[in-house]
């Protein structure tokens, strides 16, 4: 009887949250999957089922493939810049944990991660600005030819990677710091007694022991890299106010297909591609963690 009463309470308590969750998350996710199989043009009344035709069209869509390639380069570029830097910075901050400056280092590295995206991106827009920016002025100072950073298709991708890494670094450092704090101190003392230098402990103890953290941070960084949008919007929009002409990314292409070309079903199929990428990354993370557990 008591158990029954508790069950009723649990159901009543969870119901509002569950209802909201179903409406704002489950339903739209299911709808994305469903719409990806339909040809739905907002302007037309009927919505025919077309199976996988959207996906077949995606494979030959230059704009989409362009976006997919750019986004992949950005995601992996951010990963390659962020993870090694975060690991080293976290190790050094951890080494200096007891100094008075540790809190300052942590805060300074973390602030770019929390400040609003667009204003922060604006700071970088100035840095990269071809005419006014300090980057070109610096290059000029050293006699290196100036570049139009935000208008060159290759350079603007690099600019986005730098901006995204600047923002992602703080998060990775913070998670690594938690990892360092959880490592067993005795192991390091043993290594020290055996004559291992700080650098050797870092390479042969910290890095292997932090592998689960590295995997986690890598997947989080990659996933957010694949969802890049605001950074590309702010940095790579041209003067005519048509954003994203220079660097097309997946989310931008998706929104453009949905709201500029009114092809909602087609945009949904792009969303499904994004979902598959994210799921694949997460699966890789889990299977690598399990492998480690066996060893």
């Amino acid at each position: 009887m008591l158990k029954r009463k508790r069950f009723i309470f649990a159901m009543l308590a969870i119901l509002p949250t569950l209802a909201i969750f179903a409406y704002v998350r489950l339903y739209p996710i299911a709808d994305t999957l469903r719409l990806s199989l339909y040809q739905w043009n907002i302007l037309s009344k009927n919505k025919p089922f077309i199976g996988l035709a959207n996906f077949r069209e995606l494979m030959g869509d230059h704009l989409f493939l362009d976006a997919l390639i750019n986004t992949t380069i950005i995601a992996f570029g951010v990963l390659a810049l962020t993870i090694p830097m975060a690991l080293v910075i976290a190790a050094l901050i951890f080494h200096r944990t007891r100094s008075r400056m540790a809190g300052f280092y942590e805060t300074a590295v973390f602030i770019p991660h929390v400040v609003s995206l667009v204003p922060a991106a604006m700071a970088w827009k100035w840095i990269f600005d071809a005419r006014l920016g300090p980057l070109n002025a610096l290059l000029d100072f050293f006699g290196i030819p100036m570049q139009s950073w935000l208008f060159d298709p290759v350079l603007s991708v690099i600019c986005i990677i730098v901006l995204c890494s600047w923002q992602a670094l703080g998060y990775a450092v913070l998670i690594y710091l938690v990892g360092f704090k959880n490592l067993p101190v005795s192991l390091y003392e043993a290594a020290k007694l055996d004559g291992a230098s700080g650098r050797q402990s870092f390479w042969h103890l910290s890095i292997p022991m932090l592998k689960p953290i590295t995997l986690y941070v890598s997947v989080v960084t990659l996933v957010s890299g694949f969802n890049v949008y605001a950074q590309a919007f702010v940095l790579a929009s041209d003067a005519q106010g048509a954003p994203g002409r220079q660097v097309r990314v997946l989310v931008l292409d998706m929104l453009e297909n949905s709201f500029r070309n009114y092809r909602v079903g087609y945009a949904a199929s792009e969303a499904v591609v994004l979902l598959v990428i994210v799921l694949a990354l997460t699966l890789i993370q889990f299977s690598m963690l399990r492998e480690k557990g066996k060893a």
Partner: protein, 295 residues
């Protein structure tokens, strides 16, 4: 004699100790210098952004860029406030972030408690459902969600913005984790034996014990909404309903806009959010750090 030697170090050993200590101090100094440079590099773009906001167009061009403007002006600020409803956008963002925080804290507290302490099979299945959808990025399902907002007639309103930010899977995990680790079953059982109702237990025993976790979650939720971009971008399309992120991003695509004004607008947003972060740093770090600890 041997025991004497281990107690009283020789002059050589003392010198060796001093040398090692000095070497350690030198290493620490080098690490501090490196970390200080990293910290300054991380903060420099933001510092320049704020500095630029107070500069005249001529000074923006000067090399090397000045950190403290030679003749500070507030012309940029008055121009921006005259050209855009900047304060309105900030107000929209604050209202959106506050309401989203309240909704997320409320739904997470209830659901996290139920999932943590009511281990019925139905609850476990529901929790698995929450868990399974947690990895789906918002960008994947935001287009169907947009059409739901449209059919509710809440586009271009606070409620439309809120629709995408009512629940947070991570918040539910965070609370559940805390409930399991910091609220003993015996405490709840004792209250039940004393005749306390389930609602009373939740409000009078569970919520006060969760204060720390909910505080951390509230800070995370607030910053998440405050920095949201893609969803406000598609839902708020009238000038008066923009959030600050969208307003700024669209403002900067106009080609008559100069960087001084953009910096002024950005600084207006950045300064309060940095101050808020520095004040709430402990809560924030605790919240973010626990995202990495979900093993």
């Amino acid at each position: 004699m041997d025991t004497m030697r281990t107690i009283e170090p020789t002059a050589d050993e003392l010198a060796e100790g001093r040398r090692l200590r000095r070497k350690k101090q030198a290493t620490n100094l080098a690490i501090d210098v490196f970390l200080l440079i990293v910290s300054i590099m991380m903060l420099l773009p933001l510092v320049f952004l704020v500095a630029n906001a107070f500069k005249t167009p001529a000074e923006m061009l000067s090399w090397p860029p000045t950190i403290i403007p030679r003749d500070p002006t507030i012309a940029n600020f008055s121009a921006v406030l005259g050209e855009t409803p900047l304060l309105r956008w900030i107000g929209n963002s604050i209202a959106f972030a506050v309401l989203s925080t309240i909704a997320i804290v409320a739904t997470s507290a209830i659901a996290g408690y139920v999932f943590g302490k009511f281990r019925f099979r139905t609850m476990n299945i529901l929790f698995a459902l929450f868990l399974a959808t947690a990895i789906v990025p918002f960008e994947v399902y935001m287009i169907p969600l947009y059409f739901q907002a449209k059919s509710l007639g809440i586009l271009n309103s606070l409620w439309g913005l809120l629709l995408g930010y009512l629940v947070m899977s991570f918040g539910i995990f965070l609370v559940r984790q805390n409930v399991i680790h910091s609220i003993p079953d015996e405490l709840l059982e004792a209250a039940r034996i004393d005749g306390a109702g389930e609602f009373w237990i939740f409000f009078r025993i569970v919520l006060p014990l969760l204060r720390g976790a909910l505080g951390a979650l509230a800070v995370l939720a607030f910053f998440q909404a405050w920095t949201a971009f893609a969803w406000p971008m598609i839902v708020a399309t009238t000038r008066s309903s923009y959030t600050i992120e969208v307003g700024l991003a669209l403002f900067q695509t106009g080609f008559t806009v100069d960087l001084g004004r953009l910096s002024a607008a950005s600084a207006t947003v950045l300064i309060p959010s940095i101050l808020l972060f520095v004040l709430l740093r402990r809560n924030f770090v605790q919240g973010v750090a626990s995202t990495g600890l979900k093993e």
